[in-house]
Amino acid sequence: MELEKFFQLLIGGVVVGSIYAMIALGYTMVYGILGIINFAHAEVMMIGAMVAMTVSSILIAAGLPLLVVLLLAALVAMMACMILSYCMERFAYRPLRNAPKLTPLITAIGLSFLIQAVAQLIWGKSPRPFPELLPSTRVILFGDVGITVREIVIVGLSIVMMMGLLTLVERTKLGRAMRATSENVGVTGLMGVNPNRVISATFMIGAALAAVAGIMYAMNSGGKAHFYMGFMPGMKAFVAAVLGGIGNIPGAVVGGIVLGLAEAFGAGYISSEYQDVFAFVVLVVVLIFRPSGLLGQRTADRA
């Protein structure tokens, strides 16, 4: 019994953590390159879920097989999010490149008000059911410990995304350009790189991930989408990103999972009431001992 409980919690934690991770990746990438916390990222994810919801309900009505629906919906959602994110960067953030650090932060908050309002206009104020595009049938692992197909996919996806991003950033030319831009936009320009392109690309990649995260989150959180749905996971993902070392890609994933586990075990063994407290306590403790996150390596500050 106890053992089963432990593993069930473990699974639950990893799954939720993986979703946090997917969102956190977006935060981390944008932070990494511009050093700004794009709070509106949570809304991008929300839009992803909403669009996917609309599309899939249409396609289901049209009688397509669920898997196809899922893929198409995801595709459209990613497109939508990328466009949205591109516009945000182009028109709201780019003009603020040389503005004080906190300026974009407030812009981001303004943007999320805005996007939420628009979402309410389009999709209304009340939560809408999100179609079950992935079977929630329970696969028994052993004893009474089980995991749903959907959950397996979620965990898988987050790993794939991380790997993908890592290769992109560490191995490719674009990735190198991203890292260069993140250090010094001006000098990167001198290298023949158009920093604006690189930054837009970063935002759009983050957005695509957010779209997927949104869909997974909507399905995993009791199959619903709501204009308000971005807030909580957005905040948690932000925590995750920092916990792992903001700007650090594997860090985002590790952070997300650690956070998910802290919540699950906190709720399972101590008290659900203080679930979020554990999350933050873990964070504080980690940061006290590793001031730049679990994996965030601080580069020596030369004097």
Binding site: A177, R179, L190, M191
Partner: protein
Amino acid sequence: MTQPMLSIKGLKVAYGGIQAVRNVDMDVYEGELVTLIGSNGAGKTTTLKATTGMVPMKGGEISYRGKSIKGVPSWELLAQGLVMVPEGRGVFARMTITENLQMGAYLRNDKEGIEADIEKMFGIFPRLKERATQLAGTMSGGEQQMLAMARALMSKPKLLIMDEPTMGLSPAMTKTIFEVIRTVSSEGMTLLLVEQNAKLALQAADRGYVMSSGETIMNGKASDMLDDEEVQKAYLGE
């Protein structure tokens, strides 16, 4: 002579209220090594930044190989072979030496060529080879300067602009840099060099310009300027 490769006419640049550059006229011809000297705050760096599209110009004209490059962003200039080594090095601190060099070759697609050139740079600056995988940010000031120089060369520039490339370099290293400058120049690369070490600069250069408080106040053959007591008094400390 033919038309200049780079030609600056009546350049004006201001930062907010501050008129950093009032009136700069300068021509750099194909294959030349031109040096620009002047005291602190004269406006040299600003002039170069305006040339490479890093600060907006308030007035005047800048043309590169006949075409106006007013408002052309730096990344498009590099594509046309106009490259700058910025003041204060501007190496990518969180990237390794090798990666920094690769950034220099961003627009090139000849893998082997790039590899070869990296080796070439390691040849010129052995210290970089020793530290190939160290993060640039943790290198000494001088080491960073070498890297910045090498990185710029990686893009095979037609016109290389250098802003105080020997700042903070040991005499030995300064020699090295100037040797490099001489070689690339002799290989036919056009160079515009801002240098505080006016003596060395003028000795290496074909022609020189002098800037004071935002204006080019004189120019001429480098050798002549070396003997000009105005210059000697003001910039050679003799």
